[in-house]
């Protein structure tokens, strides 16, 4: 399973045999991920679909470099992932804006870390906010924005780093259904515009079908990739079209088996021994 870094590859991201066991070597050890193999092409949109607790968010954290892998390796643009990098921006489910900074200061936070001066930072923030359609919020503070706007600012903050891979951990899960659909359209625009690859974690089948080039369906714990479903349909997609209908049914079936299995496991755990 070794990966040769010298080997020319088109992929912007490669996972080879990635496993993660939390609290390894202790009594509380539990296996979150087993043998994940996936390659993501530059500019590709991949969603990770799976039941809650299947480790799909964990995989995102591993790819971001925030947690070390237990075994296997992750390569990003021909470099082994050993820690976080601005190349791979992570967007969280909950609001993760710094409440004490204004919107533009939030967006240009990463540039400040690199030591950019205020003028460069303002210009970069204006540019990134323009791409998410929020220039009017430039001087606002996060608590003055709605949930959807905050996530757009978080996307702008990630884009300002010009990442090669955008990692999104159920970013729209806390939003209402209408806002969520608008945000999906918005995300597709931003994605086309930026040229970055997107790895998008969700447990919503509709969301996966609406967005992805490929859907990776995860098994319940330990998380493995059960199947990868390519979706070769033009966007914006009509979820009620026959092709989408067929995909939704297929994915629902795949997912239902896993959810059933997860439930059975949980019940077995809860049962008196």
């Amino acid at each position: 399973m070794a990966c040769d870094p010298a080997k020319p590859s088109n992929s912007s991201l490669i996972c080879r045999g990635v496993s993660k066991t939390w609290a390894a070597g202790t009594e509380r050890a539990h296996e979150a991920l087993r043998d994940i193999d996936i390659e993501v092409a530059p500019g590709e949109f991949v969603t990770f679909l799976g039941p809650s607790g299947c480790g799909k968010s964990t995989l995102l954290y591993l790819i971001a470099g925030l947690e070390p892998v237990t075994s296997g390796e992750i390569w990003s643009s021909h470099q082994r992932v050993t820690g976080p990098s601005p190349d791979r921006s992570l967007i969280f489910q909950e609001t993760s804006l710094f409440p004490w900074l204004t919107v533009w200061q939030n967006v240009s936070f990463g540039l400040g870390i690199r030591g950019a001066d205020s003028k460069t930072r303002r210009a970069a923030a204006r540019d990134a906010l323009q791409r998410v359609g929020l220039t009017a919020a430039f001087d606002k503070r996060p608590d003055e924005l709605s949930g959807g706007m905050r996530q757009r600012v978080a996307v702008a903050r990630a884009l300002a780093m010009r990442p090669k891979v955008l990692l999104m951990d159920e970013p729209f899960a806390a939003l209402d259904v209408q806002t969520r659909q608008r945000m999906q359209d918005f995300l597709l625009d931003v994605w086309r515009d930026s040229g970055a690859s997107i790895l998008f974690v969700t447990h919503h089948i509709d969301e996966a079908v609406a967005l992805a080039d490929r859907v990776a369906v995860f098994t319940s714990r330990p998380g493995r990739i059960k199947t990868v479903v390519p979706i070769d349909l033009p966007r914006p997609r009509n979820l009620f079209s026959p092709q989408c209908e067929k995909l939704r049914i297929e994915l629902t079936q795949d997912l239902r088996d896993e959810v059933d299995r997860a439930f059975a496991e949980q019940e077995a755990l809860a049962a008196p021994t």
Binding site: L66, R88, L90, G110, I113, A137, D143
Partner: protein, 316 residues
């Protein structure tokens, strides 16, 4: 003015959020100021009602003969003779041998000098303790070796009552300002270190992870994320400890530091003068109240991003 305007915006509702074109800024600011004055007046009114009720009950007890004026003199007695009470203040300079008592500062000045001395000790102690404790708490989380070296000792010493340190204060610093300040510092320091650490541990992981994914170094993560994120909690800790500082400074002063409110209380105790005790208690209460008010205002000004949540509880 920025804070005022933003309060107005926050009340403006969602439709006023991003483009904010509802009302011209000048008018919005005026409206915000008016509502601020109204809220302030209301708060003052209820403060007066609260104290008034307490005083009225006490006075009624006195009228009914339940409260013996020699033991529990009601406010009109212990506040009535300001000059009489004031002659017990600032006694160190007033009652020196060879000095005519009438030559000293006026009664009003004497009270102010005493209050000033005690307040200075509280403030200096509070500032020293906060600086030491917050730096130490951050260092403990920043350097693991430092944590291993210091945290057990700090945890061991933190339950020790400040009273136990009183002899140490006198051994080390004799009599004067220094032992009183030392007592305030020692009473606050250990708790504030532990509070700082727990604040750091409570920082939202996502915020730290955002900084990490953007390539922040450990130092940058601390200075740009962790420190600003713990400020609101630390100010609350500081407010709580302000009261502790006021309590311990009296103990320190009662051992003899020249002059101070604690020394006046001790004098009142030794001369069996309940009126003087209550007079001093009233002074301390007002001082503590004012300090808390100032800190709360500072908190709102410095920590403009912390939402006010009391309104939610009121709605229950």
């Amino acid at each position: 003015m920025a804070t005022l305007a933003s309060v107005g915006e926050r009340q403006g509702g969602p439709e006023n959020r991003v483009d904010g074109t509802l009302a011209p800024p000048a008018r919005r600011r005026r409206m915000a100021l008016a509502s601020k004055i109204r809220i302030g007046a209301q708060r003052l009114w209820w403060t007066l009602v609260s104290i008034g009720t307490f005083v009225a009950i006490w006075e009624l007890c006195w009228l009914a003969g339940v409260a013996d004026p020699r033991l529990l003199p009601p406010p009109h007695i212990f506040l009535g003779d300001f000059v009489g009470q004031a002659k017990f203040f600032n006694t160190a300079t007033r009652w020196s041998i060879g000095v005519n008592p009438a030559d000293g500062p006026s009664p009003y000045e004497a009270v102010m000098l005493t209050i000033g001395a005690t307040t200075m000790r509280v403030l200096v102690g509070l500032v020293i303790a906060s600086l030491l404790a917050i730096s130490l708490g951050v260092l403990i989380r920043y350097f693991l070796l430092f944590e291993r070296l210091t945290l057990p000792t700090i945890t061991l010493l933190s339950p020790v009552s400040p009273i136990a340190w009183l002899p140490v204060a006198i051994f080390l610093f004799g009599i004067g300002n220094a032992p009183a300040i030392f007592m305030v510092v020692i009473a606050l320091f250990f708790h504030m270190v532990l509070a700082t650490i727990s604040q750091i541990d409570g920082v939202n992981r996502n915020l730290i992870n955002v900084a990490r994914t953007m390539g922040a170094t450990k130092w940058q993560t601390y200075s740009r994320v962790i420190i600003p994120a713990i400020l609101p909690g630390l100010l609350v800790v500081l407010r709580m400890n302000l009261f502790a500082a006021w309590m311990v400074v009296l103990i320190a002063e009662s051992t003899g530091v020249g002059y101070g409110l604690g020394q006046v209380i001790m004098l009142a105790r030794n001369t069996f003068n309940p009126s003087l005790v209550f007079f001093t208690i009233a002074l301390i209460g007002m001082l503590g109240f004012t300090f808390d008010l100032v800190l709360r205002m500072l908190q709102r000004r410095i920590l403009y991003w912390v939402p006010e949540t009391t309104g939610v509880l009121r709605g229950l």
